[in-house]
Every structure is written in structure tokens, then in C-alpha cells.
């Protein structure tokens, strides 16, 4: 991958900061072209990778790339809050890598500034230049590990003093490139969060079209020295590999479909006997992510009956049911029901929780603070409709498309959080921490299941 330049702009394409690594493209005009793209191309036609041909014209349709002959540049951009991070290249670069790089860069900035937005960019020009220089040299990616980068960055000069030499960045020459030596914590603790997000797509007729679990084991490590960690999960394949077929069969184990690890995990070891062993980086990181593509009973089920009476009113009857064990509780459940844009005078009746109408989002939100397992609740909503619907009013120039506009029939979305529970049934069996100095470290483990992309289509 070769990036000619990297720049950051606000949402209108106004440049905030830029670095021209190779000098093989005119950067100022490139940024102008990017701004033109943002302004002139329809939102629906925008793509994260686009080409500007040799004449400087934006090629909107990817199929047309190359139709005006060779030359020009390709822009790759990712959005982060109210910013765009954009890379430009004039070579046939590896795009997956460039995108990953930009994400990673955003993560590094975020790590440094807390939040990454226009304000934090403006407040940190000098650090950003330093970071841009250390993460990429001459358009080729260098070090992107924020813990390691810290040893390079002079940020406010704290590490630098007239009377003391800057310490050479130890980690760079180290085999453990993600952890510096000599880390000390007063209290040796490690926090482990198993977070599972449930993606669900239910068709209007109630059949589950797609369900999958995206899990992550997140860690916050505050351990001194160079600790060796070993994590034991109730992984079915691990039980089988170690000859504990009984446990594998007993149903207490989980078959993880595809696992991805942080670079600190010894992959060969895992391939061999499925042991997860690693030296953790200091601070926060995602140890592993996994995916399960199993049929899951929707944890929170929602049924909606809608009765529109054209020109007068529309009535909703919403039924929701929690389909998990009664000792678990779902917190802060929000059921978001879309309604037509032109409704008025809302009235609600619900057996539990509170209901609010959000006109700016054209939706009704039914909030249930605590939703115990195995319960069922009902909510009714009633709205007035104007006597002439908006479609009819617009209908004239749409060539008689009246009645066909179903844009308000978005899917129902549900948000929830169930602590002390994992849908997949994954469990941490042990977390062993061994360090030369032999200190006792405390591991803390939490489980949580939350909604991912959780949608139920409305009939």
C-alpha cells in the first residue's frame, strides 16, 4: 500500500490538517476535489472509495472508472464523528489495508485525545503531526500501536527534559512489540468483560431471517512487569482436543465459529491445543472477538398490529415478550416503533414503562427500565392523521404513486442490555496470571449481552 497523502477534513470537506508524504500529487487540489465530491455527489451515490480521473473529474459510478483513460488519484475515506479521515493514492494500492490503517489511525487519535472530533483536532495540531509522522513514513505504514507510540511522542515534552536524555523507545526493539518493559502498578488487577451483541433480522411474517452473535472478550489490564496469562473458556473444540469429550458433550460447552485474536495471543499455540496464552498490552484492548451463526430465540420479541384509518387516525397495538430465563433482567429496554411522518395528537396506554413520541425521528419509543425474563407486556398507541395524507399531496408530480409510499414502514428496533448473561453460553473457566515476581493479581470477570443490529420488520 502506498498513500501519497493523508488528510482530515470536517463534514463539508474543509481541511483541518494534512500530511503530504510523497509529494507525488498536488495536495491542495486533491483536498479541493475531495470537498467537491462531498458536496456534489448525491449521498446515496457516495462510496468510501472513489476515483478522480486524469482530467480532475470525479468518477461517480465505479463501473466507469478507466473509461477516460489512465491517470488520476483514488480517495479512500472513513467517517469518524464529525470528521473524515481520507487517504489519497495514485498507485494500485491495497485498499483493505488503507481502510484498516485509517481506522487504526482514528483509534490512535481517540486514545490520545479521549474523543476524536473537530475540536480535538484543532486543539492538538502538534501531536497530530507527530503521530502522522510516526504512523506513516513516505506513505508506508509504520508503528500503529498506541501504547508503543507513546514512547515516541514528545507531547507537551513531559518525557523530555534538558537535564535528562530521552529514553530510547524500548519497545521497538523488543520481541513483545505491544508492551514496554518495566510497567508498574500499585494494585495488580485485570478486568475481563465478555460482551455479546445479538444481531437479528425478523421478517414481517415473524420468521427469523438471520441471527448471529458477535462476541468480544475485552480486557483492561493493570498488571506490573511481563505477566504471562492463560485464559480458559468452555470451548467445545478445546475440550475435544484435550480429550475431555464428556465435558464437550455435556452441553456446557460452546462451539465458537470464527475467532479473531489481538496480536498478543500466540496463535500457533492456539492452533495446536486451543490454549489462549498471551502477554497482555497495558491498559484497554480487545483480546478476542468471535462469531456464532446459530439460531437464537429472539431474546425480546415484538409484535405489532397496525390499523391505519386513512384520513382520520392510526392505531398501534404492540406486544412484547422476553424469552430468556426469569432470573435474568434486561435493563433499559427501548422498543422503537416507526410511525408515519404526519401523525398528530398522540396518546398511549401501556401496562409497564413509559412511552414517548419523537417527532424528529418519526418514531415512538417504549422504554422499560427493567424487563424480567418470561414476561409479556402490552402497549397501545393512538394517533390522529391529517385528512389529506402527505403522499396524496405530493402525489401529483409523482405520476400517481399514491398509496405506494411505505417509507415509514421501517423495521422496529430494540435496544437492551442483559447483565450476567451470555446468549452463547460462553464462560470463563479460569484466567491464570504468572509473573516472575510472583505477585497475586486479581482477575475480575463480567458478562453482558446487548442488542446488536436488532430489527423486526413491520407487516
Amino acid at each position: 500500500m502506498v498513500a501519497s497523502a493523508i488528510f482530515i477534513t470536517d463534514l463539508t470537506g474543509k481541511p483541518l490538517i494534512s500530511r503530504n508524504y510523497r509529494g507525488d500529487i498536488p495536495l491542495t487540489s486533491a483536498i479541493e476535489k475531495f470537498a467537491t465530491y462531498l458536496v456534489e455527489v448525491e449521498d446515496d451515490d457516495k462510496k468510501p472509495v472513489f476515483h478522480v480521473d486524469g482530467n480532475g473529474d470525479v468518477v461517480v459510478e465505479t463501473e466507469e472508472v478507466g473509461s477516460t483513460g489512465p491517470g488520476g488519484e483514488t480517495f479512500v475515506y472513513v467517517q469518524h464523528n464529525n470528521l473524515y479521515l481520507c487517504g489519497v493514492t495514485c498507485k494500485n494500492s491495497n485498499i483493505a489495508l488503507l481502510v484498516t490503517f485509517l481506522y487504526k489511525l482514528a483509534a490512535v487519535f481517540k486514545d490520545y485525545f479521549g474523543t476524536l472530533e473537530e475540536e480535538s483536532i484543532r486543539d492538538n495540531f502538534v501531536v497530530i503531526y507527530e503521530l502522522l509522522d510516526e504512523t506513516m513514513d513516505h506513505g508506508l505504514p509504520q508503528s500503529l500501536d498506541s501504547t508503543i507510540l507513546r514512547s515516541f511522542i514528545t507531547q507537551e515534552g513531559n518525557r523530555m527534559a534538558d537535564d535528562s536524555k530521552s529514553k530510547p523507545p524500548v519497545a521497538l526493539t523488543n520481541a513483545v512489540s505491544w508492551r514496554a518493559e518495566g510497567i508498574k502498578h500499585k494494585k495488580n488487577e485485570i478486568f475481563l468483560d465478555v460482551v455479546e451483541k445479538l444481531n437479528l433480522l425478523v421478517a414481517a411474517n415473524g420468521t427469523v431471517l438471520h441471527s448471529e452473535i458477535n462476541g468480544a472478550v475485552k480486557m483492561k489490564s493493570f498488571l506490573s512487569g511481563m505477566p504471562e496469562l492463560k485464559l480458559g473458556l468452555n470451548d467445545k473444540l478445546m475440550f475435544e482436543a484435550t480429550g475431555r469429550a464428556n465435558q464437550a458433550r455435556s452441553g456446557k460447552s460452546v462451539e465458537l465459529e470464527d475467532i479473531k485474536f489481538h496480536q498478543c495471543v500466540r496463535l500457533a499455540r492456539f492452533e495446536n491445543d486451543r490454549t489462549i496464552s498471551f502477554i497482555p498490552p497495558d491498559g484497554e484492548f480487545d483480546l478476542m472477538t468471535y462469531r456464532l451463526d446459530t439460531h437464537v430465540k429472539p431474546l425480546i420479541w415484538v409484535e405489532a398490529v397496525v390499523e391505519p384509518h386513512r384520513g382520520s387516525r392510526i392505531e398501534y397495538m404492540i406486544k412484547t415478550r422476553s424469552q430468556f430465563k426469569s432470573r435474568s433482567v434486561a435493563n433499559n429496554v427501548e422498543i422503537i416503533i416507526p410511525v408515519p411522518p404526519d401523525v398528530d395528537s398522540p396518546s398511549f396506554k401501556s401496562s409497564v414503562g413509559s412511552v414517548t413520541y419523537l417527532p424528529d425521528k418519526d418514531a415512538v419509543v417504549w422504554t422499560i427500565k427493567q424487563f424480567h425474563g418470561g414476561r409479556e407486556y402490552l402497549m397501545r398507541a393512538h394517533f390522529g392523521l391529517p385528512s389529506i395524507s402527505r403522499e396524496e399531496a405530493d402525489g401529483e408530480h409523482k405520476g400517481g404513486s399514491g398509496g405506494m409510499d411505505t417509507s415509514w414502514k421501517k423495521p422496529i428496533a430494540v435496544k437492551f442490555e442483559i447483565p450476567y448473561f451470555t446468549v452463547s453460553g460462553i464462560q470463563v473457566r479460569y484466567l491464570k496470571i504468572i509473573e516472575r515476581s510472583g505477585y497475586q493479581a486479581l482477575p475480575w470477570v463480567r458478562y453482558i449481552t446487548a442488542n446488536g443490529d436488532y430489527q423486526l420488520r413491520m407487516a
Binding site: 489512465p70 491495497n94 485498499i95 483493505a96 479521549g114 486543539d123 509504520q142 521497538l172 433480522l201 405506494m404
Partner: protein, 867 residues
Amino acid sequence: LHSYRRRTMATFPPNRTSNMPVPGGPGGAPPPGAPPGASSSAGRDESYFTESRKGEVNELRMLLRTFATERDKQRKRDIMKKVIAYMTLGIDVSRLFTEMMLAIETRDLVIKKMVYLFLCNYAETHPDLAQMCTNTLVKDCGNEDPMVRGLALRSLCSLRLPQMIEYTSEPLRRSLQDGHAYVRKTGVMGILKMYHLNKEEFDKASFNDILYDMLRDPDSSVVTNCILVLNEIMADSGGMALNRAVMLHLLNRIHEFSEFGILSVLDLVPRYIPANDDEGFQIMNLLDPVLRTANAGAVVATIRAFLSIADAVGKRAGDDRDEDSPTVDDLKHQVVVRIKAPLVTLLASGSSELTYVLLKYVDQLIDLCPGIFDDEYRVFYVRYHDQSHIKHSKVRILAKLANPDNAPDIVAELGELVANVDEMMGRIAVQSMASIAMHDSGGQGAVESIARRLVEMLDLHGIPHISSEAATALASLVRRHPSIVSVVSAPLPRALKYISEPAGKASVIFLLGECGESIVEAPYVLEKVIDSYDSIADAAVKTALLGATVKLFFYRPPEVKNMLGKVLKKATEDVSSQDLHDRALFYYRLLRSSPDTNIAKSIVTSKSMTMSTKHFAEEDDSELRAALMHEFNTLCTIYRCKAENFIDEENIVKFVKVPKEHPLPREAPVTPVTDPGVNTNTNHMGGVAMADAPQQSVTTVPSTVSAEVDLLGFGDDLSAMSVPTPAPVGPASLQSLSLKSEVILNGEDYQNKWSSVPDAEAVIIPALAMSTGPTSTDGVEEPLKAFNVFTMASGELSTEFKFFLYGQEEDAYGGGFFLIQAVVSKAPFNLSLTIKPNGGDTNPTKRKEKIDQLVELIKSALGEYFP
């Protein structure tokens, strides 16, 4: 962590920073008395970012003038920061160049960094002033702090001033030997910058060999940069020169690389042709764990590497390999099966930009191995919040995933999307549905049920673009499956009235012609259209009208005769479209000239329009797809376009695969070789058969000393021993070195002796230029034998000869062994030696002397090849 955050949150303007105590910072205490004007209370100092007035730059200049006398470091830094902030905001502060450069002599690295930044930014516009700073930069390249050395070097190389080249090459050369990896890696990158600045000077400096040597650097980030740089400076000759030893050396170290560094190695793999099948599989096993990393770039690069290996080791048609070995297609199939789960995970967890890119890759992989992603079709269901380009990609992919099992689900899902508010989305959904029918991928009855759905859509007069799209789809479908005519015909006359889009209208008219036999009112609806011929703007509609009328004429001559005359007249007089005009004339002449209408009928109504293949000719892009597969994981995949069509010629790199042919016979046992000169670390990858080289290679060496021994398993036919070349005139004068004429050493001993000498003690003589080269290994072995340098093993590769040689001193001189690895590369001819002394003199200077003499001896023995 906490204190860190506070530090990083310190912000412009300076009044805020100065109010914030900096924990653990140097100097500690806040500046005595806040600077005047910087004590403004809450909120932002707006003037900081408002448009500059000239006065402000002048104000800065005044501040900078006080710089030398300013004693407080924090205030100094704040002044600098202000300059940088102005620069970033696009205000031209280049007028401050002189003042800034006065500040370059500082011991404060923070200030230094900022001055360097300023310098790099304005050097191109102020070359003369910049040149004056060279001395400081060069001096800093020798600073005792590696951070400063690295920084100075990077800045020096980034000035982009061609006239500075002469100052850069020396510090660069020194940096490559630096004790600190940070400086070395910066130096390597500096070489690339020099290359782009001035190629001639770069050639003179001849850094290439050093870079190749540095591939053995103990620090992986240096190695990464070496690979990246070599690839770029060797782009004209197809990328970094690669041989088996280098490739395997890098692969054996792959676990040391950072998540981005690993990419540099992964990108080399597709260029390497494995020595034989087993080696190919070993490489795949070695790389397999990379698929578990969270870095999407690395995962995709691994996929590309796998596919390329499959290409190299798989069996092709006409291949004489044994029956059992898998074919290229089988292997690729296996590869795609293996990478499916990791890709799907990335898709499910990726953010929208990454998903967009990955969907393009998946699309291409499906084309490569149809059927593999079929069972994951639900992943490609459209989510409400997906961006429209992602929705579009998904819907196109869904059509390719259809098989008899899932087609009902997929078609139903597509049906849901047709009425989508996004017009494009609806169109693509219809096209995808049609494509399932066109490819017959839906199984029994699918074609008819899809046709029925399309007919329903034709009647969706509320959504004009869908009716039109459905009509177009049906027109294609009728050509592929003529049997659906009965399903299609009924609603056509109605549809003609309300379909307004030209493409759709043309399709309906075409269909009316095709189904003319079974639609009673066909001539009458067409007649109305003909009557309004002059108001039709679109040529496609007119052409369809002409075609349909002619066809209809043969089915029902009496009804259509008049219409035909009208339309032929209109069309022949129509000058708006050449094609239409010519067609009309053609039909006219055909009808007029054929005495028997049956001939004309057989021409016009022949069923040759019916397709027997699944594609239209213009859709068959197998050639393009194959070409794109070679450039998988680049922009080509995103754009579905070959690189030469959209990349400037000078920016195109055509990588060459090496070695050109299999150096090993396919049956030969694999003997993975790492360069013996390289000390590979213990292999974390466990279980992978890429062990250290010498142990393994030596097992194939018989214990007797013989020139035929094939140490590397290169498998050359060495049995035909040629007549020894005449011995040269006699050894050059030797004082302290005298070699025994008979040495007994077997392979194992050789091996032990080699590995007992640490690599650090090896003497490496790189690339002695030769005028010509030997034609076979004997050409080297025989002359050396005459000088008592013997061969343990040798072999020929396509690009080089390789020898493992040895010699022993006379006992009187110490009796030490010299183990030599000699490589004669073929193009251009040159000789590299790695010599390890074993036993004998321990005095380093004497040892050095002996080795020097040994080199001279080898050179004189091979005198015929040297100029």
C-alpha cells in the same frame, strides 16, 4: 494513564496549557506569571483561529525575536506551537523562516520537532534558506539520542531538495549501521526518499546490496521497511529480487512482525513460486494463523497469497503429475472454503467502509468459486441502516448465491426490496431476481415463479421504474426460456399504456412481437404506437417497434400489412438514427427482393434469438475476471477494471513471479532451507515443518565428500562430470595460509561446525562482480579443488549457483577449518561468500588476514571469471 490523559488534553491556546499543571513535567512549576494577554479567562481564545491579519504574523515575528532571550521553556514551546497552528490553518508563515531557523539549535526535543516540521513544510518554497540548516541537521544525525538521530534523518530526507542529496547520502549510510532500530528503519525509508529525489545519485550510492543484507536485521520493523523500499526501487525489474532462501527466511520470522509489517511479507508470497507442492502447502500452514488476526488487510493479503500458491502447486490439464494431486480449481476451492468464515466475521463486525471493500472481494471470490458462500446467504440480507452502496452490493451478491435450496428464500427477500423507496435498489432487486432465472440457479419451477413475480411487477403501475425494469428483465428471460411466453403475454397490451420509460417501453414492444401469435390485440396496440411515431423520441423504442411489426407481419399478414408499410416508410425516412434507418432499409429490401415470403419469414422469425448459454455475449467477462484475480486485493477489485486502464503508466508496478521454474522435482522430498547465515529464532508457530535449515538439509548429504552431492536438493543432473578445467597457474603467494590437500569431513561434521560458529563471526563478502560465469557447478568446483578448497554440496537454481565449500589449514598453521558458502548469481554474474572459520588461530587479526587470503585464493582460482 490518568496523568497521561491530562497531558494530552492540554490544548491551544497557550493560556489553557499554562494554567494546567503538568504532572511530572520538567521544570514542574507553571511559568512565573502568566504571559500578558494569555490570562483571558474561560472559553476559547477566538483570535487564535480566526482569519489571519498581517499584523498577527508580525506579532509572531516579534515573539520569535524574543525567543533567544526567553528563559521559560513552556513559553518558548507555546510560541512555536502558535507558529505551527498558523501554518496548519493555512496562513502563510513562511516569512518567519529566518527567525524559526534561529531556534533550531536547541536541546529541547519538543521545540526541535516543531522547527523541523516547519522546515519540511516550507523547504520547497525556500530552498536557499533551508540549505543553511543542513549543517544542524547533519550534526543532529550524530546526536547521542536515537530519537534525535532518527528525527533529524527523517527531516533531512523529507526536504525534497535535489541539491541536498550530497549531504544526505553520508548520514544515511551511517544510519544503516546504527545501533538503534528506530534510526535504522528511518534510514531505510530515507533511501527511498533519496531514490525518488534523484535516481542517478541514488545509483551511485549503491544502497541495494546493503538493503538486501539488512533483510536479516534482528528488528522486524527494519526488515519491513527494507522489503517495502526494495520493492519500490526495484519496481522496474518486477519488484524486490526474491529467492527461496530469502522467502523462507522471512516466512520463518513472520510471527515477529507487527500487524502492519506482516503485510510486507504477505505481499511477497504471491510473487514466489514454491519449490514444490509440499513446500507450497507448508507455506499455507505457516500463514494460516494470520487469518485469525483482527486486521482485515492482513486477512485479505493472506487470501491472495493462498490463491497464488494454489495456482502454483495445483495440477493443470495436461499435467503429468500423479492422479491424486489436486487440481488448481480444487485447491482454490479449498482455499475459499477455508477463508469463508474469517471473511464473514469481518463483514459482520466491520464498519461500513470496510464492509464496502470486503463485499467487493467476496463478490469476486464467488465468481471464482461459485457455490461456496451459498449457505451464508442470510449474511447478505439487507439491513435497514446499511448505506445504499452496501445494500446494492449485497443484493447483487444475493443473486449469485441462489441454489435450488435457498432460491425461494432469496427470491422472497428480493421481492420485499422491490418496492423500496430507493429507486436504484428496486431496480437492482428486479435485475437480481431475473438473473437467478437467467442462470437457472433456482432449481425446478423457479424460472416460472420468478416470471410470474416479474409479470406482477409489470402491473405495478404505481411504481413506473419497477414496471419498466420488469419488462426489460422479461424481454431477456423470454430469449432464454421461450416457454414462459404463455405467462408473459396477457398483461402486455395493458403494460404498453402505462410504461413510460424508454427502455421498458422498448422491451414491451419487443415482447409484443415475440408473443404476437398468442395475443389477439397485439397488432392494434402497436398500431396506436405507430400512429404516434413522430412523437417517439427514443431510438431504441423505434427500433423495437420496427422489429416487432415485421415479426408480427409474418404471424398475421392481413392485419399487419398496412401498419408495416407505414412503419417502414417512417423509419426509412427517419434520419435521427443511422442504425434504425439501415434496419428499416434492410427489412424493406428483404421483403421486396424475396420472391417467396417464406424465406424472409424464416429469417425474421427464426429462433436463433433464443439463447443456449447462460450469459449474453457481452456479459461474458471470464477473461477480465481472470485478469482481475491476478490483482486481487487492489483497487482493480473495487473498480472491476484492469490497472492499466486507470493508473498512470509510471505508477504501474508489474511484479514478476520468481523463480521462473520449479527448481525441485515434484517428487523430491521437501528440504526447507533457510539461509544458513541467518539465525532463525525459535519458531513460535509450532508444528510447522519449517525448521532450521542446516539440520534438515544435511540429512540428504551422504557422508562421503563428493561433488555430486545435492545438498540443497536442487535436483540438477550432475552425473555428467565434465573434464576438469585446466588448473590455473598456481596459487598466489601465500604467507600465512596453507591448505591441506586432503581433508576428511562428512556432512554431519560440516553441519556441526557450521552451526557451532555464531553468525556474528561469519565474514560476508557481498557480490564480487564477475565478467562471465560458470556454465555448470563443475566450472567452480574443479578449479577450487586444485587449490584445496573442496565442495561439500552444490546446486544450480535458475538465478544462481550455490556451493557449500570447505578447506583445512595445514596443522603447522593451526589446522583450522574454513567453511564457505558461495553463491554465484547469474544475472549479472557476481560471487558472494560467507566464510566461517572453525578452530585454528584465535587471534582475530591473524584470522582476518587468513580469511582475506582465502578470498584472494578463491578469486585467483576462479580467475577466468573475473575481469
